[in-house]
């Protein structure tokens, strides 16, 4: 059952990632990205990362993607504006991406991951565990991240203001 679900969600993720790359229309690219983000959220559910799946759907699909769609709407004269790369650039980029894929797959699947690559060893962390270590072990990064978000908020408002 898990295997069937994994293959379905992996197919969704890969198909929409391919759609992101090949579609010329930037709006379609953004919609395909929604498919990838949703598929990855489903994979998080399969990996027992419920909190992370919810965060993925709320922050990524709900926030970042809306931001990107607004960016698309604000910066194109028409939604069909597409900038095509030259054929040579596309060929070189495809070759590099293929080499990267082959290299990473051979490297990661032949590596000896300790303690085990075969099955889950311990019980998956629960939401309470994530929350606990976020406020104990990882308190400093948590606070830094909140300051970062404040800086980003001010910075984005400053950068995007109209100069009049």
């Amino acid at each position: 059952m898990d295997a069937v679900a994994f293959y379905i969600f992996a197919a969704v993720v890969l198909a929409s990632a391919v759609g992101v790359v090949v579609s010329k229309n930037i709006v379609r690219t953004a919609v395909c990205l929604l498919g990838t983000l949703g598929g990855v959220a489903c994979l998080y559910f399969l990996l027992d990362a419920n909190l992370l799946a919810a965060i993925q759907l709320i922050v990524y699909a709900g926030g970042t993607l809306i931001l990107i769609v607004f960016g698309v709407m604000l910066t194109s004269q028409s939604p069909w504006v597409g900038f095509k790369p030259t054929r040579g650039q596309a060929v070189v980029a495809t070759i590099v991406a293929l080499l990267l894929a082959v290299g990473i797959i051979t490297l990661t699947t032949t590596a000896d991951w300790r303690p085990s690559a075969e099955g889950p060893l311990a019980a998956s962390p629960k939401v309470a565990d994530v929350g606990n270590s976020l406020l104990t072990t990882y308190l400093a990064p948590f606070e830094v991240a909140s300051v970062l978000l404040l800086v980003v908020m001010i910075g984005a408002a400053y950068l995007a203001r109209t100069e009049k």
Binding site: A3, V21, I55, L100, P115, S116, A117, A122, A157, A160
Partner: protein, 103 residues
Amino acid sequence: MFEIGLNHYLVLSALVFSLGVLCMATKRNAIGILIGVELVLNSANINLVAFSKYSAGAADGHIFAVFVILLAAAEAAIAIAIFMNFYSALRTIDVDRGDELRN
């Protein structure tokens, strides 16, 4: 084949990573490049969560993934703000014309 292990997730993540790199390299629309970056970050997150389940078992991988999502959101906000300046200066967001942003 029907037993899903760490390797399945690693292969999927490698493929998504390569597609993200390809997207970054082939799009000339700046927002297309931003979308490629999001694909790459998602592939990293798949790896973090898969390792958290199959190898460590602690919450560390989940927390790293939360921070990655946070940074992706912050990066997207700043990038879109910069692209809007780019657009108001040049009336396009073709990255090949980005060098004209210099005064």
